[in-house]
């Protein structure tokens, strides 16, 4: 578990001379072991924010501290598990090799890495260890990608709508399983989504990101016991609250 401190973060993409601000004056903190969701419309810069935290994009301005380290340092230490929308499995490697690759690349021998077989069992792919990704369905590919993310043994999860391309049912299933895994491993988690219900189902706290340039509009604490019941009036109320914040952001 590590905490996240983001301060005065701004990022712009150079677009033929005229600059496009993707993020502006973003500041927030996430406590160790907290599950925070970031909601916003498409193009509000939430993916950019996550890429900056993962050390993939260097921000134009501002500071990011992950457990006292810069994003680059945290990446070098493999403290950050970043997962994107596409499963991004290497098609020429078997499922188990794909998962193991996360441990073989930039190895951290000092850390006790989770065992690949038990990870595959955890995501229900134990009988597909020797299969190639092309033989798996979309949902199973995301499960494999999830196992690979877990294989890092990282203390911070950065998840960029990892299940967004799946059908609604598979998506709910996987989201529920992910929540179980989060309870097991207890990392700090930052979950980006455009789905308000999903955010309320998962998170301790929801940050609402406004569009163009992305900046924080509101912060909503979700004080409901897990597992959360969508028919609960308090659930609906929280959803309403976030929706209003999102609409006000325009």
């Amino acid at each position: 578990m590590i905490e996240i401190r983001v301060d005065g973060l701004a990022h712009r993409y150079a677009d033929n001379g005229s600059a496009l601000w993707a993020l502006r004056d973003v500041a927030f903190q996430v406590e160790p072991g907290e599950f925070v969701a970031i909601v916003g419309r498409s193009g509000c810069g939430k993916s950019t924010l996550l890429r900056i935290l993962a050390g993939l994009t260097r921000p134009s301005r501002g500071t990011v501290l992950l457990g006292g380290m810069t994003a680059r340092q945290a990446r070098a230490e493999k403290q950050v598990a970043w997962m994107a929308q596409s499963p991004a499995l290497l098609p020429w490697k078997r499922v188990s090799d794909n998962v193991a690759l996360a441990q073989r690349v930039n190895p951290r021998p000092e850390r006790r890495a989770p065992d690949v077989d038990s990870l595959l069992r955890l995501v229900g792919l134990e009988s597909f260890a020797q299969a190639y990704p092309a033989a798996l369905s979309g949902g199973m590919q995301q499960r494999a990608a999830l196992a690979r993310t877990l294989a890092l043994g990282a203390r911070l999860w950065l998840m960029d709508e990892p299940f967004a391309s799946l059908d609604a049912l598979t998506r709910e299933e996987l989201t529920a399983e992910l929540l179980d895994l989060w309870h097991t491993f207890r990392p700090t988690a930052l979950w980006v989504t455009h789905d308000i219900y999903e955010a309320v189902r998962l998170a301790d706290r929801v940050l609402v990101l406004g569009s163009r340039p992305g900046r924080l509009q509101a912060e909503v604490c979700v004080q409901l016991p897990r597992p959360r019941d969508e028919t609960d009036p308090a659930f609906a109320l929280t959803v309403q609250q976030i929706r209003r914040a999102l609409e006000a952001a325009e």
């Binding site: 890429r51 993962a54 050390g55 993939l56 990446r75 070098a76 493999k78 950050v80 598990a81 970043w82 994107a84 596409s86 991004a88 290497l90 098609p91 020429w92 490697k93 690759l101 996360a102 690349v105 930039n106 190639y132 092309a134 890092l152």
Partner: protein
């Protein structure tokens, strides 16, 4: 899938046989002399009669072509890999490569023969030069073509450039390498033959040249047939190797 491929093979064979039959008929009906156009049957009997000589010539030319193909593919891949690791060199090296590419090999071949003699070496060099450029350009775009999501994933683990090359870029470039080899393979044979035309102690090119200077057209045609067959076999071999090695995906490039 396999059925339709088999059927395609039969259709090809039928077309070839029909063409040969038509050719034979025209030569016989119009009574065309063999020093202008020999009938396929005559070409075939020449081939069978001198099978030993043709086999030796084919083996030599094929060996030259394969050696050059291997050398050129190796050098082309190596340069492409270096350029992908040190992108700053790309512009300069590519300009040089284009210069080599657009120097007509027909012009260089006699020079190499003058400098290096009638042996195997000038043929291998010509063939390698012919192979080098397509492999370089294709490998380079292959190495650049790697899926951004895969690259990002490995970067998020702080993978080194070498690790990214080994696990993502190199496998991604394999289909491109084979696309280049499919073009260069048959081309390599032609390169070897052209080099032999400029002076050689053996090979199909020399056979053709001798036949040409003696206006022995059945002999010349026999060599052409063998050359075409060798090119097709070479292509089929590369194609088969590709199917074996690139099992994962966007196959037919």
């Amino acid at each position: 899938m396999k059925d339709s491929r088999d059927r395609g093979g039969w259709i090809t064979l039928a077309l070839i046989l029909a063409t040969l039959a038509l050719w034979e008929a025209i030569v016989r009906v119009r009574d065309i002399p063999p020093y202008l156009l020999p009938a396929p049957s005559q070409v075939l009997s020449t081939l069978v009669e001198h099978r030993g000589a043709y086999a030796a010539a084919t083996a030599l030319t094929l060996a030259e072509a394969l050696a050059g193909l291997f050398l050129g593919a190796f050098a082309g891949s190596l340069v492409a890999i270096l350029l992908s690791l040190f992108p700053r060199l790309e512009q300069g090296v590519l300009t040089l490569a284009v210069f080599i590419k657009y120097t007509p090999l027909v012009a260089i071949a006699p020079l190499l023969t003058i400098w290096l003699g009638f042996g195997v070496l000038p043929k291998v060099i010509i063939t390698a030069l012919l192979t080098f450029f397509p492999v370089l350009v294709n490998m380079l775009s292959g190495l650049h073509s790697a899926d951004q999501a895969l690259l990002d994933t490995l970067r998020s683990w702080h993978a080194s450039r070498l690790e990214i090359f080994r696990h993502v870029r190199a496998p991604s470039s394999m289909p491109y390498l084979f696309a280049a080899l499919k073009v260069s393979g048959p081309l390599a044979l032609i390169g070897a033959v052209i080099a032999e035309w400029t002076g050689a102690s053996g090979g199909l090119g020399r056979t053709m040249w001798l036949a040409y200077t003696n206006l022995n057209l059945p002999f010349l045609f026999a060599a052409v047939f063998v050359l075409a067959a060798a090119g097709m076999i070479l292509y089929a071999l590369i194609d088969r190797a590709e199917r074996r090695l690139i099992f994962w995906g966007p196959r037919r490039l």
